[in-house]
C-alpha cells in the first residue's frame, strides 16, 4: 500500500525491511465467552476504536491500518452491523423503527456474536491485527441510556473477548454537531436519540442524547479500561498518539 500522507510517526517502516514480531499477549473473555475457544492460540491483537458518529473513528482507523501495514502487520476490520447473518435485517429494522427494545438489543448482540466467531477470533488466531470500529461498549451504552439493566447487558456481552486496547475518541457534543452537518448535511435519527423523546427539537435532542452517551461511556471507563483520547485535536496529532499507544500494545506492554 502506498503511503502518501506522512504522519508524525515514532516508528516508520524500517528501511532494511525488518518487521517487528509482536510479543504474545494473554487473552481473556469478559464472562463465559464462546464455548470451545483456545485463548492461547489467539496470537493477534484486538484494537477497538470507540466514539460517537463524527468523532473521527473511521479516519483514525484508516490511518492506523495504513501505519500497521506499513510496519508489516496484517489487518482486518470489523464494525457494527456488518455480519453476514443479520446486517441487512438490522438495517431495515432501524429504518422502520419497528422492533422493541430488548429485541433490537438482542439483534445487535447476534450481529456482534456472528462477527466475533466468524471474523475476529479466526483472524486473531491467524495473527492479524483486528481493528474494531466500535465494540460492545457502544451497544451497552445505547441500551443503558435507554434504561436497560446493566447486569443483563454484562451477562449478554460476557461472550466478548477483552481487547488489547480500547481507544475512546472523546469529542464535545458541539463539535460533533458541526462534523455531522459537514458530513451528512443532517442529524441522524438514532444518533440524536429521537426515540427517547428527550425533545421534539432534533438539535436539542442530539445535544442531550450525546451528553447522556458521554456520561455512560465515562462511567464504563473504569470497569473496562478505555483509553480516553482527546478527539477535539487535529487529525495528525490524534493519529500520532494512537500510533505511540499501538507500539506499546505490540510490544506487549
Amino acid at each position: 500500500m502506498s503511503r502518501s500522507k506522512r504522519s508524525p510517526v515514532s516508528r516508520t517502516p524500517a528501511g532494511n525491511g525488518r518487521v517487528l514480531i509482536p510479543r504474545p499477549s494473554p487473552k481473556r473473555f469478559y464472562g463465559h465467552g464462546i464455548p470451545g475457544v483456545n485463548l492461547v492460540e489467539l496470537a493477534g491483537r484486538l484494537i477497538v476504536v470507540e466514539g460517537a458518529d463524527g468523532s473521527g473513528r473511521s479516519t483514525q482507523i484508516a490511518r492506523l491500518v495504513q501505519w500497521l501495514e506499513g510496519c508489516g502487520h496484517a489487518t482486518v476490520q470489523v464494525g457494527l452491523k456488518r455480519s453476514t447473518l443479520v446486517s441487512e435485517e438490522l438495517e431495515q429494522a432501524k429504518q422502520g423503527n419497528i422492533l422493541s427494545h430488548i429485541t433490537l438489543s438482542l439483534f445487535y448482540a447476534t450481529d456482534f456474536a456472528d462477527q466475533l466467531e466468524n471474523i475476529i477470533l479466526p483472524a486473531l488466531k491467524a495473527g492479524f491485527m483486528v481493528l474494531a470500529d466500535r465494540y460492545i461498549y457502544t451497544l451497552m451504552v445505547r441500551d443503558l441510556v435507554r434504561g436497560m439493566d446493566e447486569k443483563w447487558l454484562k451477562n449478554l456481552y460476557g461472550i466478548a473477548l477483552v481487547p488489547d486496547a480500547v481507544f475512546y475518541l472523546s469529542v464535545s457534543p458541539e463539535q460533533l454537531v458541526q462534523r455531522n452537518f459537514a458530513k451528512n448535511q443532517a442529524l441522524d435519527y438514532w444518533e440524536s436519540g429521537m426515540d427517547l423523546g428527550l425533545s421534539r427539537d432534533m438539535f436539542d435532542s442530539f445535544l442531550q442524547y450525546q451528553a447522556l452517551v458521554e456520561k455512560q461511556f465515562k462511567r464504563l471507563q473504569a470497569g473496562y479500561a478505555f483509553t480516553i483520547v482527546d478527539g477535539d485535536r487535529p487529525v495528525q496529532e490524534i493519529s500520532g498518539e494512537l500510533q505511540q499507544r499501538m507500539e506499546l500494545v505490540l510490544a506487549g506492554r
Binding site: G31, H32, I34, P35, G36, T84, L85, V86, E89, Q92, A93, I98, L99, S100, H101, I102, T103, S105, L106, F107, A109, T110, A113, D114, E117, N118, K151, W152, N155, L156, G158, I159
Partner: protein, 227 residues
C-alpha cells in the same frame, strides 16, 4: 424470576413443553377449544415472529451459518420480539395465553449445544415465568417414532447435525433429542413443571390438563361478557 401472576399481570400464561412428537401441540389445541367454547378470552401464541427476525433466522438455518452462540441469540431475538409485541400486551389486556413452547425450549436446546446455562438464563431473564407449565414426558422412543414415521426429511439444525453427533441425520436426531429430554427432566422441579405422562392416549391426558387449568386458574374471571 417471577410468574405473570406474581408480577400482577391480569392475564395468565399457560405453556406446554416437551420433545417434538410428545403430543404437546395436540393437547394445547384441545385446551384452547375447551376454553373458547366456554367463552374464555383465550389467545394461542403461534410463535409467529416479525418477518424481519424470521428472515434472518431462516437464512442462518438454510445456509448453516449458525454457531451455538448465534443460534441461541437469534432465537432469543425472535422470542423477545414475540414477547414484547404480543405476549406482554395480551397479558396486560387480561387474556389466557397459551404458548406452544416457551423459554425452557431454549434453556434445554442451547445447553445441549454447549452454551453456558447461566448465560442463556441470564439472557431470558427479561421474560416472566408461565403461570402453568405442562411438560409432556413421553418415552424417547415414542416421540422419535411419531416424528420419524411421519416426516422423514430432517432439517440440519433440527437434527442437531451442527453438534457432529453422527453423520447420519436420524442417528444424530435420536442422540440430540435424548440429550434435550435429559435437560427438560433436570429443570422439571426447579420450574415446577406439571409433568404429564405423554405415553398415554390423548383423552385421559386432556382430562387432566383441563382439570388442572380449572383448579389453578379462576376461569370465571376471564369470560367474555355474554352478548
Amino acid at each position: 424470576m417471577k410468574t405473570f401472576a406474581e408480577l400482577n399481570f391480569p392475564g395468565r400464561l399457560v405453556a406446554v413443553e416437551g420433545l417434538d412428537g410428545s403430543g404437546k401441540s395436540t393437547q394445547i389445541y384441545l385446551l384452547k377449544r375447551w376454553l373458547e367454547l366456554q367463552g374464555v378470552k383465550v389467545f394461542f401464541s403461534e410463535w409467529n415472529s416479525s418477518e424481519l427476525v424470521k428472515n434472518a433466522t431462516s437464512k442462518g438455518k438454510k445456509r448453516e451459518l449458525l454457531t451455538p452462540s448465534t443460534f441461541s441469540l437469534i432465537h432469543a431475538t425472535d422470542f423477545a420480539d414475540r414477547y414484547e409485541r404480543q405476549l406482554v400486551p395480551l397479558m396486560r389486556a387480561g387474556y389466557i395465553v397459551l404458548c406452544d413452547r416457551y423459554i425452557f425450549t431454549a434453556f434445554a436446546r442451547d445447553t445441549v449445544r454447549g452454551c453456558p446455562p447461566e448465560w442463556v438464563r441470564g439472557i431470558y431473564n427479561f421474560a416472566a415465568l408461565p403461570d402453568l407449565t405442562f411438560f409432556f414426558n413421553a418415552q424417547l422412543e415414542v416421540s422419535l417414532q411419531r416424528i420419524l414415521d411421519g416426516r422423514p426429511q430432517l432439517k440440519y439444525f433440527e437434527a442437531g447435525m451442527d453438534l457432529r453427533l453422527s453423520s447420519d441425520p436420524y442417528e444424530s436426531f435420536r442422540i440430540f433429542q435424548g440429550r434435550i429430554l435429559e435437560q427438560y427432566l433436570a429443570m422439571s422441579t426447579e420450574f415446577s413443571f406439571l409433568v404429564m405422562d405423554a405415553n398415554r392416549p390423548v383423552e385421559p391426558q386432556q382430562s387432566i390438563v383441563r382439570q388442572l387449568v380449572a383448579t389453578k386458574i379462576d376461569l370465571s374471571k376471564y369470560k367474555l361478557p355474554e352478548s
